[in-house]
Structure formats: C-alpha cells, structure tokens
C-alpha cells in the first residue's frame, strides 16, 4: 500500500513534467499550426545549460535559471531563423525541417559535451526525504518537482486565461488574420509563444535531468510521450494537455508496478515479469488507441 502511494506520487511527478513539455507543443500547434519535433531538443538544451552552469558556479538554482533562459533564447533564435519560414508550409515540410533541427542540435551538443552522460546534484536544501502523513517516506526533491509542476500549471492557466497576452494567444488560435488586422504584431506574438514553450521544456529538462541524467538524445523519448499526451488531450488545448499528461504519467508508472504482479497471479514469476514489463511499455499507447476509438479528436480537442 505504501509502495502504491509512492508510485502514485512518482506518476504524478512524471505526469507534471510531461505537462511542461506538452503545454509548449500544444500551444505552438494551437497558435501557429506547427508540428515541432525539435521541442525535445529544447528540453535537452535546458538540461545541458543547467548542468553546465551548475558545474561552473556550484549552484543548482543558477543552473535552473540558466536552463530556462537558455531554452527560451534557443527557442527564440530557432523561431526567427527557421520555424518562421515553416508556418505556411504543409506538415511534411515542418516534420522534416524540425527533424533536421534535431540532428543539428543533438550533434552540436555531442560535439560540445561529448557522449557521456552528465549528472546533476540535487541542491542541498532539497536533498534527502520527508515523511508524509501516513508514514510514507518520499524524496523531497521529487515532492518539490510536483509543487513546481502544479505552480507552473496554475500560472499557465492564469497567463492564458486572464492576461492580455493570453487573450492574444487565444485569439491567435481562433483567427490569426483577424488579430493581425486588429494591430497585434503577429510575428512577435509567435516568437513569444515559441520561446515560452521552449522555456517550459528547458525547465522540465533541468528538473528531470537532475533525477535521471543529462545526455544527448534525452529529449526524444519525452517528445514522443508528449505527442501521446496531446493526442489524448486534444491538440491545442492546455486543459487537455494537463489531463492527458497526468493520465499518461500515472498509466505508465502504475503499469510498470502493477502489471507484473497482475500476471503473477496466473503465470510463473519469470514469464509474468517479462510479460508484464512488455505490456506495461505498451500501456500508454493502448490508452491512446482507446481514447481515439471513442474521441478521434482527443478528450478536449477542438479540431481534428
């Protein structure tokens, strides 16, 4: 039971980090109609910036700030240099150009840092574990990540729902010609949205990189999970991204814990472990297929 609650928290944590990734993807698609494969590269840029600055200054917090700044800056540069030319193109061109960006950014990072994984230290103030009500021992850093994820989610909802920029973003999703005609600088808005998504991805990269490791290619599995999230949630919907991310995070984590023991009930242990592990790795895709069968446009999708 204690293990189960711990795994629930882990699922929540990975779900919230996925949300940081998926929010940027879904915003960029919703507002600019762009499918961006290079979003995972921005996640990686954030992680490497954090590792680099933390190693140079000894401060995780400066590293975290640097990860957000570096990813946002990388996002803005990429948007102005490349992405801007892709808005009017079809999805195939967008896929290939951003695939090329992945090759460039990954290989460039490998050139600078080498292929060996880097490791980040949890800041001293957040190391160790806490005892939660009910006697569960849980990593303080992971708990902090959950807190940060929730805060960012609330902040993003307020930004999109209550501020002037949010109004422009939502108007941009609905009718971009119209808001351009009303005097909003659409080019600047696009760069801003892209940089915002990049900053969220970079922050997720730094936080997850601290738990796991920082290496080239770390963004790609997360990118594909984020795609699953926004397909489930409905492309363009922040609320869908949040619900989808939590569903995917929990399904993935709980599947890995529960499925082997479920199969253990009617199979021998070694077969049950491998069968459970194999099925658990497919669980989120099966979830996605089920959602698509019922709602082809995703749970909260406006457009199909």
């Amino acid at each position: 039971m204690l293990l189960l609650i711990e795994q629930l928290l882990n699922g929540l944590q990975s779900g919230l980090m996925l949300f940081l990734m998926a929010a940027g993807l879904t915003l960029v698609f919703g507002v600019m109609g762009l499918i961006n494969l290079a979003h995972g590269s921005l996640y990686m840029v954030g992680a490497f910036a954090c590792a680099g600055v933390a190693a140079a200054t000894g401060s995780f917090w400066l590293g975290l700030a640097a990860s957000i700044a570096a990813a946002a800056a990388a996002g803005a540069i990429v948007e102005v240099a490349v992405i801007r030319r892709l808005y009017a193109r079809d999805h195939l061109d967008q896929v290939l150009a951003t695939f090329a960006l992945i090759l460039i950014i990954s290989e460039g990072t490998r050139w600078l840092y080498g292929s060996f994984p880097l490791y980040l230290n949890v800041p001293p103030s957040l190391s160790g574990s806490v005892i939660l009500p009910g006697g569960i021992q849980y990593s303080l850093f992971r708990l902090a990540i959950i807190g940060v994820g929730l805060l960012v989610a609330v902040g993003l909802f307020l930004l999109i729902g209550k501020t002037r920029i949010g109004v422009q973003v939502r108007a941009g999703e609905a009718d971009r010609e119209m808001i351009a005609a009303l005097g909003v600088d659409i080019g600047r808005l696009y760069t801003l949205v892209f940089a915002l998504g990049a900053a969220l991805a970079g922050m997720a990269g730094a936080l997850v990189g601290t738990i796991q490791s920082v290496q080239v290619g770390m963004g790609e599995p997360v990118l594909i999970l984020a795609f699953v999230v926004i397909v489930i949630g409905g492309i363009g919907s922040i609320k869908g991204a949040l619900i989808g991310a939590l569903l995917v995070g929990l399904t993935d984590t709980m599947g890995r814990v529960l499925l082997p023991s479920v199969f253990d009930l009617f199979m021998e242990t070694s077969a049950a472990t491998s069968m459970g592990a194999a099925l658990a790795s497919m669980a989120i895709y099966i979830l996605m297929a089920l959602v698509l069968l019922v709602k082809p446009g995703g749970l909260f999708g406006a457009r199909a």
Partner: protein
C-alpha cells in the same frame, strides 16, 4: 509535390522518353552499374553499401505509396520495417537452433528459405498496417503523424522489453537465409537478388499508380470531397494503400535483416521512420524513383561525410534543412525540371 511522371502518360505514348524517365533509367542503371563496377574492382564493402541502398529504397518505395500518392504522412514506417526484420530473424532463429516455433496444430520448425520468409514478413507487415491504419486513419493531418509515430514507438518498446528474442540486444542470424538456385552469401548474388526485388516493387507501384485504384488514391490526396462525390470512400482506398505499403516495407525489413545477419530494436526506432521520409524528400516526393535517388544520396553522404567528420549528422541536418526550405522537389525534381523554388 505531384506524381509528375506517373500522370505524364500521354508523353510516354509518343514513344520518346521525357526527362523524368531518363533520370529514372539513369538511376536504375547507376545502381546496377555501381554494384557491378565495385564488385569487379573487388570492393566488397561497397557492394554491401549498394545492397543497403537498394533495400532502403524498397522500404522508401513502400512509404512513397502512401505519402507520395496518398498524401499520408506516416511517421511510423519503421514499425513494418522492423517487424519484417524480426520475422526473418525469428523464423531463422528457430530453424538454426532446432527449437520448433510451435508444435500445434502442426509442427513448425522455422525456416531459412527467403521466399517463405518474405511472404510471412509481408503478411505480418500487412496485418500490422491494417490494425494501425484502421485506427490512425480515423484521424488526419497532424494527428495522423503523431499517432503513427506513437504506434511505431509502441512496437519499439515492446521489442526492447520482450526478452524472448534478444530484447534490447537484438537477434543474430548466424547464416544468411537461402534462395533457391542462388548462393546468397556471395555479396554480388545477394545484391542482384535485392535489385530484382527493388525493380519488381517499383514496377508494381507504377502499375498500381496508373490503375483505377491508384487514380483513386491520388484523388484521395488531392480532393477527398470529389472522390466521395464519384462514389468512392477515401478511407477504404487509403487503408488498402496503407496495408500494401506496410507489406512492401516489411519485405525490405526482411532483406535488411539478412543483409546485416542481425535484427535489433534499432530497426524499429523512430529515427528510421524519419530517414525514410528524408529519402522521399531528397528524391522528390511522389516520384516513382524518389526512394532510390534519396536512399542513394543519403547513404553516399553518410559514407563520404562520415569519413570526414564524426559529426556528419550536423552537416547532414544543415543540408536537409536547406533542401526543405529552399529546394522543394528533391533531386529528381531538380534534374527533371530544372531549378524550381517555392
């Protein structure tokens, strides 16, 4: 982006080759000539490289059917490629280790016969494509891209975490499977066999593209409403194309497994799906010989740039970016129609 030389049938009837056909013939002759030439010079490694180009071109041809003619951007074709590879690997694994694959309802010991493996691989690829296609085709546009990508990843992770056939480490094929009347271990004979398969596949696609089915498929890309107006459901046409495409790509995967005598989850990785798309873009989407031109260019660049720098992918990425942004129409488009922008 159109299927230019397929729809240029009237010119063909005048008995003279147009520029696209000349480029195609040059590509086919170039592949065979290169293979024979380097074989005569004793460069066995380059024969293997040419074989790799031909196999990847078959896989690309499968993708071209749905992407170039049907307009479906499938980002998960590595799934069929890898399933074909695993079909070859698993059948050979059982036959070579004398462990029967199943004993009920009849004893089946696996096989090392290429024709049997090819047919099985194509059936496996077609079945997987039918299931994935039926689900994915409920959606369109960017959803379709992400969903095909996600299903590809699903099979990738399954292969990694399923330990029976090597899991993450992959599965070796100790002796290349055999083809009646040929010594497949001889690189040039295997190269010839692969080329024959490639040209058979390209011929099949050319015939399909000009058939009633192919015209409906291209209409599904160009205008779904009009296709429905003449009484054809686009979904059915696209699904059939998707299934044929999966079977062709699985066939390529079986050949690729035999080329390397090794199958691993990397055949299922999404990078491979991306590379297949890259072949078509480099070659010129929708053109019959695009996969051959693209795969040839890609492997040549990998070989040449890889000799100059370990970080060749960086330069390749820059080149790909330039092609996508500034040189649409690919190599064949460039050669067949001169410079074209936009």
């Amino acid at each position: 982006m159109s299927a230019a030389e397929i729809t240029a049938a009237p010119e063909r009837q005048r008995g003279r080759m147009n520029r696209a056909q000349i480029v195609n013939a040059a590509l086919a002759l170039g592949l065979v000539g290169f293979g024979l030439g380097v074989w005569a010079m004793g460069e066995i490694f380059l024969v293997t490289l040419a074989t790799k180009v031909a196999i990847l071109a078959i896989a690309g041809a499968g993708l071209n059917l749905v992407l170039g003619f049907g307009g479906l951007v499938s980002f998960g074709h590595s799934a069929y490629f890898g399933l074909g590879g695993y079909t070859a690997g698993i059948l050979a694994h059982h036959a070579l280790n004398y462990t029967p694959m199943f004993e009920w309802p009849f004893l089946f010991e696996g096989t090392t016969s290429m024709p049997v493996i090819w047919i099985t691989a194509m059936i496996v690829g077609a079945l997987a494509a039918a299931m994935i296609g039926a689900l994915s085709l409920r959606t369109a546009g960017v959803y379709f891209i992400m969903i095909t990508l996600a299903f590809g990843q699903m099979i990738f992770y399954f292969a990694i975490s399923w330990p029976a056939y090597g899991g993450e480490d992959g599965l070796p094929i100790y002796v290349r499977n055999g083809f009646p009347g040929l010594n497949t271990l001889d690189p040039i004979q295997f190269f010839g066999l692969v080329c024959a398969v490639l040209f058979a596949v390209l011929a099949l696609i050319a015939i399909l593209a000009r058939s009633r089915f192919g015209l409906a498929l291209q209409a599904a890309r160009q205008n779904r409403q009009r296709l429905m107006a003449v009484g054809i459901r686009p979904g059915g046409v696209l699904l059939v194309a998707f299934v044929i495409s999966g079977a062709i790509t699985a066939l390529a995967g079986a050949l690729y497994a035999d080329l390397n005598r090794f199958v691993s989850p990397s055949m299922l990785s999404w990078h491979l799906s991306g590379e297949l798309l890259v072949f078509l873009i480099l070659g010129g989407t929708g053109r019959l010989f695009a996969p051959l031109a693209g795969a040839g260019l890609y492997i040549a660049l990998e070989h040449l740039l890889g000799g100059v720098s370990d970080h060749w992918q960086l330069f390749f990425g820059l080149l790909l970016l330039a092609v996508v942004l500034f040189a649409r129409g690919g190599v064949i488009g460039f050669l067949a129609e001169g410079k074209r922008h936009g």
